[in-house]
Amino acid sequence: MAKKILIVDDEIEQIDFASTILEETGHTLITAMDGREGMNKAKAEKPDLILMDIMMPEQGGIGMYQNLKHDDETKNIPVIIVTGITRGGGFDDVLVRQDQDIPAPEGYIEKPMNPETVLKMVNDLLP
């Protein structure tokens, strides 16, 4: 059954790249270009999965993730974080320091994105 995936990235190329990869899955793809729009669409469209960039304007990525996880309507949507920052030294630390209660995201994808890894992770999270 077709599910809905929200792709959030401030770079059009990145959205194009992710969309092309995920088109294969047959799921419905919706996009947003900054944190605020992403949050709005998450609430309005109730996607089954969110693939989001963390380095968006200002606090965009981290702010949106926090909002998602603190909002009852969206906190159960699995999130895959796309980041250029190497895992371990980056995102986790920033999140934990800012917000002790926040759970870790369901998946990390490091740039440059490997399409197979993305597909496998999405398929695992959307059975």
Binding site: Q14, F17, T20, T31, M33, E37, M55, E58
Partner: protein, 526 residues
Amino acid sequence: MLKILLIDDEEPIRKVLGLYLRSKDYEVITAADGREGIEAFQQESPAVVLTDIKMPGMDGIEVLKRVKEMNPETEIIVITGHGDMDLAVQALQLDASDFITKPVDNQALSVALKRAKERMEIRRRLKEYTDNLEVMVKEATAELQKAHDFQTNLIQNSIDGIIAADEDGTILVFNQGAEELTGRTASEVIGKMDIDSIYPPGASKTVHETFAAEAYGGKNRLVNYEIPLLSKSGKEIPVRISGAALFEEGRATGIVCFFQDLREIKRLERELIQSERLSAIGQAVAGMAHYTKNILNGLQGGVYIVNTSLKKNKPDLLPKGWAMVENNVGRISDLVMNMLIYSKEREPDYVDCSPNDIAQEVYNLMHETLEAEAAKVHDLTKRQYRVKLFKDLDPSISHCYMDPTGVHRCLLNLVTNAIDACTLESDEDKDFSIIIRTRKEDEGVRFDVVDNGSGMTDKVQEKLFERFFSTKGPKGTGLGLLVTRKIVDEHRGRISFKSSPGKGTTFTMRFPCDKERSGNGTAPKS
């Protein structure tokens, strides 16, 4: 007890005077004539001789002459007869101390003797003083010698090179330090070489000028001025020179200079620069890795989309994927160009060109990029793209002598930053505009890049020109502004900015326009 020889041919006089003198505590020897007197003198060496002038045989004048011959310091008082003034004068001319007349008055004799004793005392003191003086002179000379030796040692063994020259410039002092610095020996230099010839050609003129000027320690002085010396083998030795022109009663008499060897310091400086460069490279590599990862991601995305298009026969994907490849190849080439410009010392490639044309080119290029971006955003989100580019070019600017490629890159970097300042700004519904402005100025031309984007906090402004500082995370390298400033510096121009958070930023570059000011010489040292 003072010894007196009394010579008189008249016995009663000898007796009377003898008695009187002995009563006055003198030791008295008597002689009855000149010859006897001389003999007595030779034997007894009296200090005072009292002699009659008119005597048979050897007279008093003769006695006087002989005694003075034997001991010129002997006090001789002659006794003359009444009216023998001529003889008295003759005796005084022959260096008699005094004369008394017959009949001898005791009081006159006492006065004569007293004066004789005074003269003897003066002579004694004079002699003593002279002897002392000799000792004192000897001692003073030894002191002076010691001080002189000490100073010579000090000069000779000073680690600094010390060179002094007379008013003609001939070298007079050339110590070991100077020998070590220049590789010349004192003997081949002192009195033979001119002080100007220790500098490389042309440098001595600079030294003279600096001496005459106020800048380094005042007129006729030189304090901590850096210049090379020329060694015997023709090598330039970096030194720090301090010196003074010497004057005596307002007249120039020479010059003395101290040279501190800077070779070791320069070597350490080079090492420091080298290690700073290495650490900068480390920083740069880390920043660059993130940035290139981002580009690589874009390239892989493009390639993936092209492949998908070909494999799955989706021709509509092809232009999108190819554009992505092209775009990221462009980013890589920009990065490489910036890296090359930053890493190399270079002179601008000056050409007579139009600043407005450069601004127009950058406008066209970035306008096109923004249009394409706007179309894509609209396509994807149905939203209006909020960044617009404008130009405001001063038509009174004609030609300028500058490196068009370099200035193009500066403007491109500033406009790219301005676009980022707008798009990286949080998601307010604000319309952003960027203006490329040119203005003619008295001394050249001015470029402004004005945006109403996010602006910069004080903290960001402080770090702005630091190496590889970026607010864009992996989307920036921190190279853009560094390269821009470097190019502006190489043009002997100036770059400045005004910014306030939330309101926007204006960057201003000023370039000199004419050939002379923009410089055909070497690049300014930073």
